[in-house]
Every structure is written in C-alpha cells, then in structure tokens.
Symmetry: C2
Subunit: 424 residues, 2 copies
C-alpha cells in the first residue's frame, strides 16, 4: 500500500496524505473514489443538504450530537459488577481529543445509582467542630464567592483490571474512568471560615445524599488548600450522574473522595475510617498489610489513538494521540516508545498544560506497516516518572485494584488493528 | 430586609449570608424555612432519593442535564427574523458561569437552516492558486496534525439590536451570540502547504455546504497565522448546528467568517466581495459610506448576573459575575461601575486568561437595596478600552447592526429586578 517513490513526509511537512488525496479531474467528475461512502454526493454533485433548507433554530433548545456520532457513548463492562446501580461506565477516550470532556460523556461510577435530587429541597450541612453549624440551600451556596478550575477526575480503580495482566481491549475500558471539565464552585475554605473552625479541627468527613450515603475522611489542610464545593461543570449545572446539584472537588485526589450529591460535611479531629477508606479504596500489599490513605493520583498517561477501538487505517503519516495527567501538579514531559520501552522519544505537548488537568500529547510517525509496541510515559513537574507495570507490581503486588498508573502497551499489528498487551 | 446590626461582611470574609443560614435546632427538626421548597425533605427527614436506589449506569449512554434545569436553554426572539431557517438562537449567559460553554447551549446562527451532513460523503476542496488541488474526506483531514485551542466565537451582530437604544431585556438576548469552547482542528496553514500556494496567492474564499452556500473572503496572512479547520468542540465532534463535520475557526474575528459545514477553500489574489461582506456584515456609517472588512471583534464585556433574567434575590453580600473578551488578545483588566460610569473599581479576574477566549470576572458587593446602574468595562492587552455606546455612536452612527461593543448598563431596582437601560 505504501508508495516507495514517496518523499519522506515528516521531514518536508508536505504531503501528509500518501496516494489519492490530490483533486484530479476524475474526482471532480464523480468517478469512484476509495474514500467515498456514496459517490452520488461527491463534488460536483450537489448533496441533498445543500439543495434544501435545514432545520431552523430553536428546534433543539438544548443541542445534541449528530446522529452520525451515535457510536460515541459511555460504555460499561457488564461482567465487572453485579448490579447496574453499583457499577461504572467509561469515557470514550478513543473518540475524543483535546483536554475538555463534554459533560454527556464523563464516566460514571455509582455505589447506589444516580440520586435524582430536587435542588430546591437539597441542603448541605456543615457541622461538628465549628462555632456556627450551617445548613445551606443551593441558593445560599450560590451567593458565596466562587472560582472556576479545570481539573481531571480519575477513579482510584481506573486501570484496576490490568493489575494482573492485560485484560480489557480498549482505552475506554482500561483508562476511561477519567474525565476533565471546568468546575465552578465555592472554595471549601470559605464555607469552613463561615462556620468557624474550632482549634482542634483536623479532619473532615464528606457524605453524599445518595442511598449509599458515600462518605470519606479528608484532612483539613487539603480542604483549606484547594477543595471546591462545586455545582457547575463546563459552565452549566452538574449532571445528575456527576452529583447534581453539588459535589466535592478534590484536585489531584482519587475520584471516590469527590463526594457527589454532597449533603454533609462534618468537622472532626481524626479520620472516620469509613468503609470506603478501609475495606475499600485501600491497596492490599503482598504481605497482607494495606496502604493507608492513598489519596493522590500519581502521574499517568495513555495513548488514546491508535488503540483497539481506534485502529490505524492507513500506512504512511500518522499522528499518535494521548493524554497525560498528574495529581501532584503539571505534566512536564511525555515520552513515546514504539518498541515496548527500549527506545524513547519525546512527544509534543499541545495546548494548555494546567495543574492537575488532562494534558494532550501527540507524536508523529511514518508507519510502514511494521509491528509496533506503543507506550507513553509521563513525567510531572515534581520529577516523578510514570513506572512500568512490572515495577509497580514489584512494590505493590497484585492484590490491589486501585492506583494502577503503570505504563500501558498497545500492540499495533501490520493490519493496523491494535491489541492490549504487556511486555516483560 | 437588611439587618443594620450586621457587621461589614466584605471586610471580614465571614458571614457571607445574612440572616437565617445558621443551622439551628429548629431547622434540624424540620421547622418551616424560608428557603425550603418542600419541608418534608429537609434534614433530619430522609428524602426519597436517599431511601431508594437511583438509575444505574448506561441508562444514559450519552448524558443530559437534570430535568430541574429544563429552563436552561437557547432562546430566540421570534420577531427578529422572518424565518426559523435564517435566524439566531442565543446562549443563556445568565445561567452559566466559568468560561467554557457546554456544547448543547452554544448559540446558533443559520442563513438556511442546519445542514445535516453525512460525514462519509462530505468533502473539503482546496483549489485555486495552488500547485496541487486537494479533495479531502473527513478521514483524510483527521490524519493531519491537529491542535487544540480555546477561543470565543462572537457573531458580528451580537448586541446589534442595541445600536439604537436599550431594547432586549436580558443578557441572553443582548449579548448571547457568543460562546467559548475548546476546538480541535488542523492548522489551515498545513492544508495550504499540502496544496502548495502559488506566489501570487493573497486571499482565500471559504464556502459552506449549507443551502445558503455561505462564503467569505479571508486574507491569506490570517489563514497562515492561526486559523483552524476544526472538527471537534470540547473534545467531541462538532454539533450539527456548529458546522458538523467541519468548520473554519478564525480566532478573534467575527463569527460569520467561521464558515460552517466547510466544503471549499479557494485561493485567489484578491477578495471576492461576496454578498456577506458587502451588502451584509459591513457597517453603514452616517454619511452613507460603509466600513470595509471589519473582521476583528473589539474588546467587550457584559455583566451576566445580576441581569433581567437573573435578578438580585437577597440584600447583603452579592457577587456580580460577568464575561470579557477581545479579538485582539488577552483581557488585561475589567472595571465595574455601580453608578452608570461615574466611578469605577477593578473587578477580580478568575481562572484562565487566554488569548481570544472568554474571561470570567467577579465583583463583590454589599447591597443594601439601593438603585444600581451596573456597568463593566474591559481593557485588553493592547491597551484598548471598551467604549461607551455614546462614543461608539459618535463615530459610527446608528445605521449599523454589527460590531456594537459599547458598555452595557443594567439598572438594578430596589426590588432586585433588573432592566436594560442606557445612561447618557
């Protein structure tokens, strides 16, 4: 399929497309074209959508994607969980680009389904070691000063099925428990100041209004530093599955602690050791001990295309695309390997590089159809480098399902199809 | 309603809420609360959404807003235009915060309705003064290197109805022909390099595939500088009403030239003087002459709350919120006046300040119920200061409907209701 007479495309920045992309007379006359779905619509023919008026405005007062994008959806893995109410759906990372996730495609994780809250009736209580307990309506909350911050949210169990080896065939499933939006919220610090902290206050407990009453302990210092009591994502109110009308935003920390449908914050002097931070959301080591309070999501990255759901369709020039993020700061650098980690080259980081947000990287490649073992490796601005899965297992064993930030390998076959593999 | 014994709230950063926000015993026992929609659901009562399991995952593979947000929609003004196909809907700026607009709420402007394009059949032709004409499928286009950029898009006619005086009662209608998303697209420069520009190439003409065949001339230098041939917004593919599957992104320039449903780019040596840049989208001055090629959207701002659709509901502490933007660069500073422009104080700019993107500002206020004449005034990093409407009219007359970036005034009444007014 490759044309051996083609000049090297990467060097010249000309001729990204090998083959039939030139606009010849034949194509203008509607002759068959390998790329055409329906030659009737190719130039110079006039397709129906140009011949007739389209829908007018306000037919869709709240818009939705084209019907041709019906395949771009969150997906779940039915055998993963026993019920749909305590389950997870995954962001289709392979079908997205940039760093902002559209609200309709942000992954979901529920312990008792989506609480469908009437915001007029919802209250957030702040009590415990405070001078003046508060019971805030949404209207109260919206009167406070607020800020807007773009952050990733990653479930602690993202990539969890991969601890014991390559299992799920697509980055949607291996890495799709992450999304990144702009949150609008009240700095939790302001609410705690409003309530007035007692001098022995050291920890908070945040609790949700869903029927699992999800609750987690949070050190006071983190709450004062950068946590938000957020009610908007990408400008509009939170979606129901993201905690409408209000959730906690805990930048860089595991998603489970970003309590959704937030109804209560209790201030105390020690952690609560709730179910979700003892028997769950802890990492069981090989010797039977468990790591205590592993809040931060360490630096991680994944190639989103090509991947099993987004194979390489053409030989020649190709752009590898992926995401990197770190719960400790900004992404400093991403490296790419084509040979399973033997050789590395620096990827190009595109656009915004924000503190604890998804960061997009690209790597340009002239692919001649050879097997590839694609890997990406993130480094954050603390100098931390994303480890291999082998290194992770050396220290952490294989009992855990949480905090797997090991380097992912995608095997690109000569056909362009891609498989989830591991290299030793 | 104000409590004269209240301490000054702004100074202390304590007590944002005057009155009944403290969590007293009475409220805990479910006693009547001025803020309660349905006291049955107040703590310590357990609402239904906590008593029962909610919907599980994958019930909504593509999510949508809560039913309680059904009022947060694009709206049109039916008397503005004779048909729905050549009309406009407005972004509900008063119902949003931050700088990212969710895709479903981005304003629409069509000249012949929404072209419903099958992306497999769509082609982008690049021809004219080039060495190698191109006919690109969407699959071709997606193989090129791409970048991600957050930019505002403002219709040249935004605020157009206000040229002759305050008319429309809500920032959704006066300023809602603007939105801001993250675009993913191929730098137009790369496509022109692929085609190979002839030495006499100086202008482009971009043409849409909708039945208005919208077309505009664009100087080559701008195309090479920063224009994108974009196919994604906020990560996912463009929405149909935003030009699916591909549109032009022309940072900082009037929205009309961001041609949607892009099917053709012709390279020439002079402008085409199309209908949409001669009889339309030009500014007719008082002396009968018209300004030629007014591409750039000058610095502008608007207070989005309080506004007629978002009145001030409480005396005491309040946060004024608004947006500023400039087609020439970044927003440097925003000032607020409470008295119709006599006195000005600097607003607080929040979060990201990006080149030619919406920028969010806030201003904190202790409102005792007096009349306010609220204004905001933007300055960009070229030093340009947003003018008054009076100054604009002095130079531009009142014949135009385009490029009205004058300072907006909102009259806040003692009731908290807000009206669109002008001050002389």
């Amino acid at each position: 399929m490759t044309d051996p007479t083609d000049p090297k495309l990467l060097a010249s920045r000309r001729g990204f497309l090998t083959g039939a992309a030139g606009l010849g007379g034949a194509a203008l006359l509607g002759a068959p074209n390998a790329l055409a779905g329906d030659p009737q619509n190719l130039p110079p023919n006039i397709p129906d959508w140009t011949r007739t008026l389209g829908d007018g405005v306000a037919v869709r007062a709240y818009g939705k994607p084209s019907k041709h994008e019906a395949n771009v959806i969150r997906r779940d893995v039915q055998w993963l969980t026993a019920s749909r109410e305590s389950s997870v759906s995954f962001t289709p990372l392979h079908d997205l680009d940039g760093i902002i996730t559209p609200n309709g495609l942000c992954f979901e994780r529920h312990h008792s389904g989506i609480a469908e809250i009437n915001p007029d009736d919802h209250r957030l209580i702040i009590h415990g070691l405070v001078d003046k307990p508060l019971m805030l309506s949404m209207e109260d909350l919206k009167r406070f000063p607020r800020v807007n911050r773009i952050h990733f949210l990653e479930c602690a169990a993202n990539s969890g099925m991969e601890w014991r080896g390559a299992q799920l065939n697509g980055c949607q499933f291996t890495h799709g428990m992450v999304h990144c939006v702009e949150y609008t919220g009240v700095p939790l610090r302001l609410l705690l100041q409003e309530a007035g902290l007692k001098t022995n206050a050291k920890w908070l407990m945040a609790e949700g209004a869903d029927s699992s009453a999800m609750n987690r302990s949070l050190p006071l210092q983190k709450a004062l530093d950068d946590c938000l009591v957020a009610y908007r994502m990408n400008g509009e109110m939170l979606r129901p599955e993201q905690g409408y009308p209000v959730r906690l935003v805990v930048p860089g920390w595991e998603g489970n602690i970003w309590v959704k449908w937030l109804r209560r914050i209790e201030v105390g002097d020690e952690p609560w050791y709730t179910r979700e931070e003892t028997s769950k959301y802890t990492d069981l080591l090989s010797d039977g001990r468990a790591r205590k309070f592993t809040f931060v999501m360490d630096a991680k990255s994944v190639i989103t295309a090509p991947t099993p759901q987004a194979p390489l369709k053409h030989k020649g020039f190709a752009v590898i695309s992926g995401l990197a993020w770190s719960g400790r700061g900004k992404i400093k650098r991403v490296d790419i390997s084509l040979d399973g980690g033997r050789n590395w080259r620096e990827a190009k980081i595109d656009g915004l590089v924000l503190d604890r947000a998804l960061t997009r990287f690209y790597f340009e490649l002239d692919w001649n159809g050879e097997d590839l073992l694609l890997q990406s490796r993130a480094m954050d601005d603390t100098g931390y480098v994303q480890p291999t899965k082998a290194d992770l297992r050396k220290f952490r064993g294989t009992n855990s399902i949480y905090h797997n930030n090991g380097i992912q390998t995608w095997h690109v076959l000569p056909s362009g199809e891609v498989e989830n593999v591991e290299v030793s």
